[in-house]
Amino acid sequence: MVEKLSFSKGQRLRALFIIANIMFFILIGIIVLVPLWKVIADSFDEKASLIQFRMLPADFTLDAYKMILEQDRLYRPFLISVATTVIGTLCSLTVTTLFAYGLSQKELLGKKIFLTYVLVTMVFRAGIIPIYTAVSKLGLVDTLISVVVIILVDAYYLILMKNFFSTIPVDIIDAAEIDGCSPLRVFMQIILPLSKAGLAAIGLFIVVNYWNMFFEYLMFINDTKLYNFQVKVRELVLNADTAGMEQTEFSTQTLRNSVVVLTIVPVLILYPIVQKYFVTGVNLGAVKE
């Protein structure tokens, strides 16, 4: 009898823990989501600057988004963000996978040298001023080429891709080579189609990196016409006092919130796919040379 009682008491404690644990994670979820939700709600709120506690717009409006669509100074940075992200990702994937495929060749002469060549850049970084000097000497300051090429190959993704290619059975490649396929054709028609998971994993991270880039713009670009959306958001929201915002009929506060929302949206759209693949990325990371 006593034993039975203590057993049920144990169950009760367990049930209590399970409930408390779930409540705890609901709270964590709220802490993560509320700041984002508040910004989204305020981006549709005509009276965003109204000092009052609320979680939904006081006066619903789409004016801020319309304003972004109409004003060159607002939509131009957005288009620059889209363009550099698309071009950057394509270039980055091409250069990274080609390099990785070369490195993954078992019989590559000088493989150790090439690997060291890459790994050195992971542990020793020149720092921002020497990088700026180099980009400046190459004549790339104030061009969008600078921000596209500066993160063209990430050593970490390169190694991930190389390890991914190494897992593809050699027999397939040998068979193709006997049939007279050139290495480039083998790569394009056999290797790449077999590597969709790896490509998706690093591709999505590369997209996010290009989309989220802002510091490189501050460093290499003086011409405000070439700024991307992140830099624009920084100017409008973080440096609001110096940005010289013109006063409009509706609250500038609404506009501030809406530009932040527009920066989040592409990440939100990609996020479910990213989530599906980042586990692949993390697992790939476990496969070490």
């Binding site: 964590i28 993560v32 984002l36 506690f53 590559l108 020149a126 921002i128 190959v153 973080l238």
Partner: protein, 303 residues
């Protein structure tokens, strides 16, 4: 390596490798131009180099200036304080969250929570800073609205020296709390379930199981993460750049933001490079040692 897979003679290997050198060429050029060329450019630390242009060689004068400047010690101090607290706070919270998350048996709920808490990691620092800038604003921010409702005075969280550090650490935690759990959850899912079954038969309750099975299995991961984070102790940069302001430089200015202001904004390229070299060398030593230690402990290097 398998002995049976003997390598072909050199000549044949070179012929086979030749095409792949072309594949690798663009990447090799990239690293040469944007990693090795900058490393070469570090020589400007030994020159007088400012807005007036590249001047004379001045030996170690820039380094002497650096070590005799009180600002330099302040930014190194700030970097260590902010990073140190961040590593301690982040690790302890992330480990607790991982252990608790691992206890949740409702798969859908667990997945939903994971989806939510991983999200901020994918937002740029500009977005994260903007979100908190908006909700912490002393005039319109919702946090200050609440404070006023409860009769308090609005607080300028990001503009007051006594508030900046705790708020900064909270924002870092907010962004990375979920992402940090990925590595621990992977380690947790690797624990053999038979261990728990055996413990169950022996009558061990969940907390005892956590103490004798889960935590010992997590320790290698914890040590690896700790060492790896310690090796990156000097790397705070973008998060500070978007969250600090001149009013709080004394408590927030870190090595990289100092280098950025001195170099890119003031144009003291030579001096800023000297500070950068100091950082690069310490960071290099830390990363290499961390890699060695982890390799010894886990038999597997990070790099």
């Amino acid at each position: 390596m398998n002995k049976a897979q003997a390598l072909s003679p050199l000549g044949k290997r070179f012929k086979k490798s030749f095409a792949f050198y072309f594949f690798m060429l663009p990447g090799i050029i990239y690293f040469a131009l944007f990693h090795y060329f900058p490393i070469f450019n570090m020589y400007i630390a030994f020159k007088e180099f400012n807005l007036a242009g590249e001047g004379d060689w001045i030996g170690i004068a820039n380094f002497v200036e650096m070590f005799s400047s009180s600002k330099f010690y302040q930014v190194v101090g700030n970097t260590l304080i902010l990073s140190g607290f961040n590593i301690l706070l982040q690790m302890s919270v992330v480990i607790v969250i991982s252990l608790l998350l691992n206890e949740i048996r409702f798969r859908l709920f667990k997945r939903t929570i994971q989806t939510i808490i991983y999200l901020p990691h994918f937002l740029s620092w500009v977005v994260v800073a903007s979100v908190f800038h908006l909700i912490l604003s002393p005039q319109t921010g919702i946090v200050n609205v609440l404070i006023q409702i409860f009769g308090g005075k609005p607080i300028y969280f990001l503009g007051k020296e006594e508030w900046w550090r705790p708020v900064y650490l909270f924002i870092l935690l907010w962004r990375e709390i979920g992402w940090g759990t990925v590595i621990y959850l992977a380690a947790l899912s690797g624990i053999d379930p038979q261990l728990y079954e055996a413990a169950n038969i022996d009558g061990a309750n969940r907390f005892t199981q956590m103490r004798v099975i889960t935590i010992p299995h997590l320790i290698p991961t914890m040590v690896a993460v700790l060492i790896w984070n310690l090796s990156k102790v000097l790397n705070l940069f973008h998060s500070v750049l978007v969250l600090y302001s001149p009013a709080v430089y004394d408590v927030s200015d870190v090595i990289e933001t100092y280098v950025f202001r001195k170099g890119i904004q003031d144009g003291s390229y030579g001096y800023a490079t000297a500070v950068g070299i100091f950082k690069a060398i310490i960071a290099f030593i830390l990363v290499i040692s961390a890699n060695k230690i982890v390799k010894k402990l886990r038999g597997e290097a990070i790099i």
